[in-house]
């Protein structure tokens, strides 16, 4: 499809030299590619309507949005909501909770699949390896509601397995889900339980891509299994780790509504209420559109900025980049 090489100068020169052939060329391009443009119509409409219109709709963060007036006629209030929520006690709590949970996830849930992949890779028995992989992938396919249900059942003070064990060794049952101190550990543990196996796939693929000659060379140099793991496997998957770490940084304010909402209750709001759960409760359920959109917009902008910054830092320091 050579007709598409549209360097500016050649085409303008051609145009000047022979306007008639230029017209024909352009007509034939459109004729040939019209089907492609037609195919693109639904997809483009989708992105405009469900991605870009809501983006423009975010202007209600600067309005005293009134559902009957719509955003064309609602009153503009400038940065009122932003000023209000920066001063708002709830906002600090929301931001802190979101960051705290995100940070804990980064600390514990992020390395878990890496370690799992490394351990799986060291397992020499292939049948056993396949069995273990099959089992650890399963939770990924359960919804957060089901995982939450499992959590409720296991942790219930009356019927829960964990509390049976606690009682059996002579302690009082713990009301795990009613206790703020347990909320974050439960969130992190359940995240690891659900996604550790699935997330290990990418690292397994990265390990499979390491050249076997590196292992041989290190063995000749006298490295045992542990040394090989440390000096060949880990550096070998470092690029994959960096890329996924970058992605995580960009999502630092996106903790996962579905998971948090399943476990959250009024008793644990103090430690578990995040920006998204608050936006759902106050925004959708109570109709506080302007305020919660301002908070949501803040979240999106911070996430976007973090991703861009992390990407640049990583490109400069490690050479790995996302965009």
């Amino acid at each position: 499809m050579g007709s598409s090489a549209t360097g500016i100068r050649p085409s303008s020169v051609r145009k000047a030299l022979n306007p008639a052939s230029e017209r024909r060329r352009r007509a034939s391009y459109w004729k040939r590619n019209a089907p492609f443009y037609l195919l693109l119509v639904p997809g483009v409409l989708y992105f405009l309507v469900f991605r870009y219109v809501p983006l423009l709709g975010s202007v209600i963060a600067f309005q005293d949005y009134n559902i009957y007036e719509g955003f064309w006629r609602s009153e503009w209030v400038g940065f009122k909501w932003f000023e209000q929520f920066f001063a708002f006690a709830h906002f600090r709590r929301l931001l802190w909770n979101t960051l705290a949970i995100s940070f804990l996830q980064l600390l514990f849930a992020f390395p878990a699949p890496i370690m799992l992949a490394i351990l799986l890779n060291e397992l020499r028995n292939m049948a056993m390896r396949r069995f273990i992989q099959t089992v650890v992938y399963i939770p990924h396919f359960l919804s957060w509601v089901i995982v939450g249900g499992f959590g409720y059942m296991l942790l219930s003070p009356q019927v829960g397995l964990i509390n049976h064990l606690i009682r059996a060794i002579g302690f009082d049952p713990v009301f795990f889900l009613q206790e703020p101190g347990w909320f974050r550990p439960i969130i992190v543990t359940s995240a690891i339980w659900k996604e550790m196996g699935w997330n290990a796939i990418i690292f397994l693929a990265a390990i499979a891509g390491i050249s076997p000659t590196l292992y041989e060379a290190s063995r000749i140099d006298g490295a045992g299994r542990w040394r090989q793991l440390l000096h060949v496997t880990v550096p070998g998957i470092m690029p994959a780790i960096m890329i996924l770490f970058l992605l995580k940084i960009g999502q630092i304010l996106d903790v996962g509504f579905e998971q948090i909402y399943v476990f959250l209750n009024p008793v644990t709001y103090s430690v578990g209420d995040i920006i998204d759960t608050y936006a759902y409760r106050e925004g959708v359920l109570k109709g506080q559109y302007g305020m919660t959109t301002a908070i949501g917009l803040f979240k999106s902008i911070v996430g976007f900025a973090l991703l861009i910054i992390a990407n640049r830092v990583s490109r400069l320091t490690t050479g790995e980049r996302l965009i």
Binding site: F50, Y52, L55, I138, S143
Partner: protein, 292 residues
């Protein structure tokens, strides 16, 4: 080369296997506990006698769970969302990715930038809610399908796959006078079976597991999908756990037993298809992880 593992290596292997089996146990034991509980008598559940083996076998919970009309209604809604949603998803993904995979299509780069931008920058929840509302989609099954018609990330995966197809084949068909639509339908798609399978499965599981959209857009009890039905069931029983136990301890049913049975019944479909789809999922995850 005859190779004798050293003591250190054998220790390493043993510890490794032990750790991995422990990981498997943490996945399997909760299932076992919940299965055992869902088959045990209420008294045994509440007294905490059930561990991994049912105490006082009963199928009453399953009978009640399966006789619930609301359960089947929610199940039907979910089946519709998974079926119609996935079909729409795949149609949209293919027809959008295909042209974008063509070299030299003008405006392609702008469109790609637009799509990638939506992956890294999300609009807040409320404006999207208002858009869905303004289309009159609230409280309809379409609210759980149409706003999710395309996933930008899956679109890029599909696009990368299409780029790898041999252009000569399409050129030959063009010379033979085939229309571009026929080429897509009769040549590109049959060659793309692996990616179509994989992405359909991704989309289907996403639909099956999603309760967030239903939570946002659905008020009508009749239109609740399965996950939202389960969510309400679990939340409702746990809110007054103590109270309900006092009332129902003497009857044939304990609310927890019913919850556990319902959860398991709702898990069965995914566990049944899991062995068949596993290899596709792994393949898909790998395709998805490839950098362009």
């Amino acid at each position: 080369m005859s190779y004798r593992p050293s003591f250190a290596e054998r220790t390493f292997d043993t510890v490794n296997l032990f750790l991995l089996l422990a990981a498997c146990a943490t996945v399997l034991l909760p299932f076992l506990f919940i299965l055992a509980s869902s088959l045990s008598e209420p008294g045994a559940i509440i007294r905490g006698e059930v561990t991994f083996w049912p105490r006082g076998f009963t199928l009453e919970y399953y009978r009640t769970a399966l006789n619930n009309e609301m359960f089947w209604r929610a199940f039907g809604v979910t089946l519709f969302i998974v079926g119609a949603g996935t079909a729409l998803n795949m149609g949209m993904t293919v027809i959008t990715a295909y042209p974008l995979s063509k070299q030299g299509l003008r405006g392609k780069h702008v469109l790609l930038m637009m799509i990638v931008f939506t992956i890294i920058f999300h609009a807040p929840m409320i404006p999207l809610y208002l858009v869905v509302k303004s289309f009159g989609l609230l409280n309809t099954v379409w609210s759980m399908i149409v706003p999710l018609a395309l996933n930008a990330f899956y679109l890029l995966i599909c696009l990368t796959f299409f780029r790898g197809l041999p252009e000569e084949l399409f050129e030959a068909a063009r010379v033979d006078g085939m229309s571009e639509y026929a080429i897509l339908w009769k040549i590109a798609l049959p060659l793309s079976k692996p990616i179509v399978m994989t992405l359909s499965l991704f989309y289907a599981v996403d639909h099956w597991n999603n309760y967030f959209v239903a939570l946002l857009y659905i008020n009508d009890y009749e239109l609740r999908p399965l996950q939202l039905y389960l969510f309400n069931l679990i939340a409702q029983f746990n809110m007054n756990e103590t109270l309900s136990n006092a009332i129902e301890a003497n009857t044939m049913l304990s609310p927890q037993g019913l919850q556990m049975a319902t959860i398991l019944v709702a898990t069965v479909p995914i566990l049944l298809v899991y062995p068949f789809i596993q290899k596709h999922f792994v393949k898909g995850a790998l395709i998805g992880s490839l950098k362009e």
